[in-house]
């Protein structure tokens, strides 16, 4: 990879934690053939920087102040099949892995992994952006095969997570840009699927069965 004739790999790092951005960008800058083309701390900022810099790879945190890293992944993947998209997260749980994969990410790395793993995931993603690299994928697949938890739609998951945040119907409606009655319908379906009759019960059941693994939407 240290071929002098090739242009360096250009990377954009997205994380709302400054210390993480600093540490990671140093790790990337230590590589001779990689340059850090930009840093961002939010979804909006990231999309702007990416549009300006057109990097080869984006490494993004999942939980950001104005949305999730998956929003970035989805937005880019809709138009661009060749950009490497690495999801870097503190969250664990199979659901995140699948969500990243379905959103079109190229790799999924935990924040406990040393920076060389992040770097090598970035290199991988630049070469084959549409394959999915994740060390825990096989195990997650096996567990999913035996999964008998209730299946929630994407919307229902979002509503559930906001319920878990302690938001009321009106607030949820505001966050998700839907009418209150639609939110109520989703909540009713959620309760039905979770066998709950109120918010606390739904929350407890969701926790017990591991349905609350999604990133809290902010």
């Amino acid at each position: 990879m240290s071929d002098e004739t090739r242009s360096p790999l250009r990377v954009v790092l997205v994380d709302d934690h400054e210390l993480i951005r600093t540490g990671l960008s140093r790790a990337f800058e230590r590589e001779a053939d990689i340059t850090v083309a930009g840093l961002a701390g939010s979804v909006g900022q990231a999309l702007q920087v990416i549009a300006e810099q057109r990097p080869d790879v984006v490494v993004t945190d999942l939980q950001l102040p104005d949305g999730t890293g998956l929003d970035i992944v989805k937005t880019i993947r809709q138009r661009n099949d060749r950009m490497g998209l690495v999801v870097l997260t503190m969250h664990s749980g199979d659901d995140h892995i699948f969500a990243a994969m379905e959103a079109g990410a190229s790799a999924f790395v935990g924040k406990d992994a040393p920076s060389r793993e992040v770097v090598s995931a970035a290199r991988h993603s630049a070469i084959s952006p549409r394959t999915f690299l994740c060390s825990g994928l096989a195990g997650a697949m096996m567990r999913r095969a035996n999964d008998d938890r209730p299946r929630l739609s994407e919307r229902e998951k979002e509503v559930l997570d906001l319920l878990a945040e302690g938001l009321g119907t009106a607030q949820i409606a505001g966050r998700l840009y839907m009418s209150e009655s639609t939110v109520k319908t989703h909540i009713a379906k959620l309760y039905q699927k979770l066998g709950a009759t109120n918010r606390a019960q739904a929350l407890v059941t969701a926790m017990r069965t591991g349905l609350l693994s999604a990133v809290n939407p902010s």
């Binding site: 934690h17 210390l19 993480i20 600093t22 540490g23 990671l24 140093r26 790790a27 230590r30 939980q63 503190m90 969250h91 664990s92 749980g93 199979d94 935990g110 924040k111 406990d112 992994a113 040393p114 920076s115 060389r116 567990r143 035996n146 999964d147 209730p150 878990a164 945040e165 302690g166 979770l194 066998g195 709950a196 606390a200 019960q201 929350l203 407890v204 059941t205 926790m207 017990r208 069965t209 591991g210 349905l211 609350l212 693994s213 809290n216």
Partner: protein, 533 residues
């Protein structure tokens, strides 16, 4: 809400009360025919007309308006006393209105005003003869007025409680306070497990059964409450029976296997499943009848169990939110900082010059990675209580692999578990105990190998951690780690033992649930031989 709102709300009632009182007074006065009282009633009508008129003005404050009205009424009644006490009943009307509009405070204000005016108008007036008959008459009508006012005040308060948010919170507060007081008084406590055990004991007194298990029902399926003795057998048959009872709400008998519901007025709470003693040679219909009768007799216990489960739900709900908050704090705070330190250490590793420095940096990095991994798991665990889809045995295995790969110490895991799972909180506690046990063996015991054996046949379970190290070396019994392990075991009703191995070097940690059922649970299980070669 203000007094003005109440005045407007009750305007028709108060106006009605005044009109009613006027009608009530008009008849006797007209029959009597003397001019004074008739004039008084006309004046009274004028006062009340003015009062009704004033009610319509939001700008007139409520309290003075009421007091002025009451004083005028009392004055008229007192002045008429010289001729006849016929106007005394009118005293009740302002009292009633004040109670309704301003509650008990308004009632007292108006009562005070009326009493003062009555005294001031009658005592110096020589034409009024203050005798016992008059006093008792005044007293009677004042009391009637106070009674009406009190009713008004009650309505006023009720209305207030219902319509304000603060009111519903006050109600909730009162209820929760009562719940707290109650839960202290409840003879059998609010512990579902204890109550379940009690039910099983009662069942055994009534019918000859063994292997009784109580299943509670939630949104998706049923869970055994841990207590009770267990029969290792056909789980499928057992589940089928329980499902049938859940569906039909009636007892079911199939061969020697029986199941019947625990019901309250509100519905089915739980299902008791058991095996009839073979000697109980009753025909099927008689058994069914006996079980259904038993089911009815156990209603009080069902209510207890239902209450306890409900209470547990409230507790779980309360903790759930706190856990979410904790997870969020951990995730956004210390976990990110540590991960960032990790990346910084990666940089130090690259700068290291001597092999010793490289090694030191690597070691530091590995430890930090381990801490962050733990944190990730903790965050996930907080957000998803024992969310693992792994069984307890699989989790133990995974944890052992992890520790083994980190320390290079071989850990051999033997699993014997059936399809049925323990409750998730029980699994979590057991897992934490085993984790602490394995870590202790690694850290303190100077062991060269560790064996972990895990038997799960709910409600029976036993997990053992055995090492070949230097043994307990005394004085570790009150260590912090051990205290926590004991507390965890106590919380799930288990027995924890930590001792030196007999005749060999090393320690053995064992935690066991429902020890009484060990022989039954282990008959079909792999044999338990853990001899060092």
């Amino acid at each position: 809400m203000t007094d003005l709102d109440d005045r407007a709300r009750y305007a028709s009632v108060t106006a009605g009360a005044r009109v009613f009182a006027l009608l009530m007074l008009a008849l006797p006065v007209a029959v009597d025919g003397s001019i004074g009282p008739i004039l008084s009633v006309v004046l009274l009508a004028a006062v009340w007309l003015a009062a009704v008129f004033v009610d319509g003005f939001a700008r007139v404050p409520v309290m003075p308006a009421l007091v002025v009205e009451a004083s005028a009424v009392a004055l008229l009644a007192a002045l008429t006393l010289a001729e006849s006490p016929v106007l005394l009943p009118a005293l009740g009307v302002p009292l009633f209105i004040a109670g309704l509009v301003r509650g008990s405070r308004g009632l007292l204000e108006v009562l005070g005003a009326e009493a003062m005016v009555l005294l001031a108008a009658t005592v110096p007036n020589d034409s009024i003869r203050v005798d016992l008959a008059l006093l008792s008459s005044v007293f009677t009508w004042l009391m009637v007025g106070i009674g009406l006012g009190a009713i008004g005040a009650v309505v006023h308060n009720l209305r207030r409680e219902q319509t304000t948010t603060a009111g519903s919170y006050r109600e909730a507060r009162a209820l929760i306070t009562r719940l707290l007081d109650l839960s202290g008084d409840l003879v059998d406590g609010l512990d579902p497990l204890g109550i379940a055990q009690n039910v099983i004991d009662l069942v055994k007194e009534e019918v000859p059964v063994s292997g009784a298990v109580i299943f509670t029902h939630d949104g998706h399926g049923f869970t055994p409450l841990l207590e009770g003795d267990v029969r290792v057998g056909d789980d499928g048959l057992r589940d089928g029976l329980v499902a049938q009872v859940l569906r039909d709400g009636r007892a079911v008998v199939q061969g020697s296997d029986v199941a019947f519901p625990l019901v309250t007025e509100a519905g089915l709470v739980a299902v008791v499943q058991a095996t009839m003693h073979p000697a109980f040679g009753q025909p099927r219909t008689a058994t069914l009848a006996a079980l259904n009768a038993l089911s009815r007799r156990l209603t009080p216990e069902a209510v207890q169990l239902d209450t306890a489960l409900l209470f547990a739900t409230i507790q779980a709900g309360a903790t759930a939110e706190e856990r979410q908050r904790l997870a969020r704090d951990l995730h956004d705070g210390i976990a990110q900082d540590l991960a960032a330190f990790g990346y910084l250490i990666d940089g130090v590793e690259d700068l290291a010059e001597t092999p010793a420095q490289v090694e030191a940096a690597e070691e530091l990095r590995e430890e930090l990675s381990r801490v962050v991994t733990e944190l990730r798991r903790a965050i996930f665990g907080l957000r998803n209580e024992a969310a693992s889809t792994l069984s307890l045995g699989e989790s133990v295995q995974a944890m052992a692999d992890h520790i083994s790969s980190r320390t290079g110490l071989p850990i051999e895991v033997t699993l014997d578990e059936g399809e049925a799972r323990l409750r998730s909180d029980v699994e979590t506690e057991l897992l934490r105990i085993v984790q602490e046990g394995m870590n202790n063996a690694v850290k303190h015991a100077r062991a060269t190998r560790i064996r972990v054996a895990c038997v799960v046949h709910p409600p029976y379970a036993r997990v053992r951690v055995i090492d070949n190290g230097r043994g307990l070396q005394g004085a570790r019994d009150d260590s912090h780690g051990l205290r926590i392990m004991r507390e965890r075991a106590r919380r799930i009703g288990g027995t924890l033992e930590l001792r030196d191995r007999e005749g060999r070097s090393g320690t053995e940690l064992s935690v066991e649930l429902n020890r009484g059922q060990r022989s039954q649970a282990l008959t079909s299980a792999t044999q338990w031989r853990y001899d060092d070669e």
